[in-house]
Symmetry: C2
């Protein structure tokens, strides 16, 4: 049987995180592992009303097939939503996807031939690694600095990829409050990246699941708003601003390109759920998604602040320990001294009843073993304080070289 | 920009049918074109109640991410549903998909390397052609006879594909009330196909969207129920038995294979909508889907009968005109004399205010220009009678060689 599998299957790996996440789900553990939005933020009363009404009174549309591009009222609402960020699209430049993971898959299908080079940061979003690997991209890792990718490194890497016979296709970025690092790109780096892709004839895939979740500081324009050549494809998802279980998002970009993506989507799933689209369209038309997002920001800001304060308080003051201070999103990123392996440290953390996500899977070059991701979205303020206290102890014990099972 | 597209994009074509279908949507036209289920059959009151209840009272699950494999209650309900047909799966052999088009995409991703040979009938389901072409399969067409594929032809085609360097991977079949032809495979052919794939070391993809919509005659066991070697992958969808707009289905098969499909699905969309899964699971647990399907069969049987009777009455009695008499499903298939080109005939049909789907796109070898598909699912009994009367006139005029715009 296994001789019948496609080559991409032998290369694809199931996420190690999935297995690790299972360990962290015991109720006594304070988990900063999963990147789940807080379900208490889902506007359930409104969604329940809209769902029932759409099913009862609009069943001829909400329960029937729809077009591959998606429902027009939803696409129209999204063009207005995007324009708040300086992104001016016509409706036919915006198509509905089954959340941004499908956006990644469609981008991969549209652009990647086996061996084509795709440039991602170190670290980068795991779902992107999986989507691009599944279409057999050659993933090239570029260090991520505090203000975005190391663009000198990127220029060298593009040249190297060409020399090695890998056709460069696009640079994948999550420029606002990146998963996993929480890092936001500076305006200068955004502009310079656009110059580079223009010179090199490449595209940028700009994934913006967290962009609207800014708690502090000033918004930086999206790359797509700075793009004058039609080189940026935007991926958006409702997962973090409405509800993750809907599985709804959008892809927007140059018309010629979006048309090809539609052809690929047709082959992939015909269309995204009509019912889910109808519910989201009604929400955007009759309720104020921006106001809802402002409430989310307030909610998550408190949690981020609690986590940053707890880290100041409980992390040992040791050379080589640092963490990001994100201005939004759901995650921050902890770097430990080089000798620490966060996968090896995980059993000790679970003993102390605290969990995180190991950093290495987010690095396509196998580095990052001394890093970890902390999500502040789901734990309560009390749990954040207590969980980081426990994590401080775990790190202390690890640095002291204590065998697992022994505590300080 | 276009130099950045993957090779599969230049080969993929958007469905010509989509463009043609737009022509048929004018309200004065009686359309037998779209394969849409009748929205009046969607159990909207129950679905509205379940949706509201799941959102209000189970929001921590229904609006949150779920596992790639899908919700366990739904998968458990599906194992019981499948067992009614002699298909005995453990829950971990059944995964949830975003309807069967995603099942086709995942099968393609899991098995097809560029140039691999996939065997489909002439005609076959258009969505399958698109999904397999998008992953760059070499599609090999096998004539479809009244009782299933021409299996002698298939054996020769497998040998030819090997000689030409195309690795054979699987045979794709819709053995019950096929879209587009309405044809059902005999038990003998099902058994013989399993012998062939066993000898050749191939798989069968058994797509069963219409299987439960049997109005007359006796059910024939699914290939998967006859399979003793674990060579059959089953695709199921809720589109035709519950509501198409949900975009919900399942894939079932040998454990080793399903595991790989899950890895591909993770890269494709992480998971199918939790909310939609919760609604369908509740429907299956608290209501009787089989009883609902029996009511559907009664509803569609009357329409099929009306269409068959109208065809007898209104089709000219001419050598070379024939149609299928399906025992279920949503479609029947009309074959016209060789000189008729149903695409060329379509403007005449639209003049007479009746529409159908041209046959050629369902044939991977470019044949079938004298065929067309008639869907009896959505028109009323009166519309069926009147629409087929008009179609009879269209065919008469076409055979008389009248220029378009002139009527008999």
């Amino acid at each position: 049987m296994s001789s019948l599998f496609a080559q991409r299957v032998s290369r694809a790996r199931r996420s190690v995180l999935r297995e690790l996440l299972k360990l962290t789900e015991r109720p006594e553990i304070i988990s900063f592992a999963g990147g789940l939005p807080d379900p208490e933020t889902f506007p359930r009363k409104i969604l329940a009303e809209l769902a029932a009404d759409e099913i009862l009174n609009n069943y001829e549309k909400s329960l029937q097939y729809t077009t591959t591009e998606g429902k027009r009222p939803l696409r129209a609402a999204l063009t207005r939503w995007f324009s708040e960020d300086g992104l001016h699209y016509d409706m036919d430049q915006v198509i509905i996807t089954s959340a941004s993971q499908q956006g990644l898959d469609l981008v991969a299908k549209t652009f990647i031939d086996p061996g084509d080079a795709v440039f991602v940061s170190l670290p980068t979003y795991l779902g992107a690694i999986q989507a691009f690997r599944a279409l057999e991209a050659e993933l090239v890792g570029i260090p991520l600095l505090e203000d975005g990718m190391d663009l000198d490194f990127l220029e060298g890497a593009i040249a190297r990829a060409r020399r090695q016979g890998h056709r460069p296709k696009f640079v994948y970025v999550v420029p606002d409050f990146q998963n996993p690092s929480g890092i936001t790109w500076s305006l200068e780096k955004r502009k310079r990246l656009l110059e580079i892709v223009s010179r090199e004839g490449l595209l940028v895939i700009e994934d913006m699941p967290y962009r609207k979740l800014r708690f502090s500081g000033e918004p930086v324009p999206p790359l797509a708003a700075l793009d004058e050549e039609g080189r940026v494809v935007v991926l958006f998802t409702f997962s973090k601003v409405l509800a993750a279980g809907l599985r709804l998002g959008a892809l927007a970009g140059p018309r010629e390109l979006v048309e090809k993506v539609v052809t690929m989507k047709q082959a992939t799933d015909l269309c995204t759920s009509s019912l889910i689209q109808c519910i989201a369209a009604r929400f955007m038309l009759e309720h104020d998604l921006s106001a809802h997002v402002r409430r989310l920001c307030e909610h998550y800001r408190l949690k981020r602040d609690a986590m940053l304060q707890a880290l100041e308080r409980y992390m040992p003051e040791v050379e080589g320990i640092s963490w990001t201070r994100p201005e939004g999103g759901l995650f921050l990123w902890l770097r430990l001294p080089e000798q620490v392996d966060t996968e090896r440290m995980l059993p000790r953390a679970l003993e102390h009843k605290v969990a995180y996500v190991i950093g290495a899977p987010f690095f396509v070059d196998g580095s990052g073993r001394n890093t970890l991701r902390l999500s502040f979205s789901k734990a309560s303020l009390q749990e954040i304080e207590e969980g980081i206290r426990r994590l401080g102890k775990v790190v202390e014990e690890e640095l002291a070289g204590l065998p697992a099972g022994r505590t300080l």
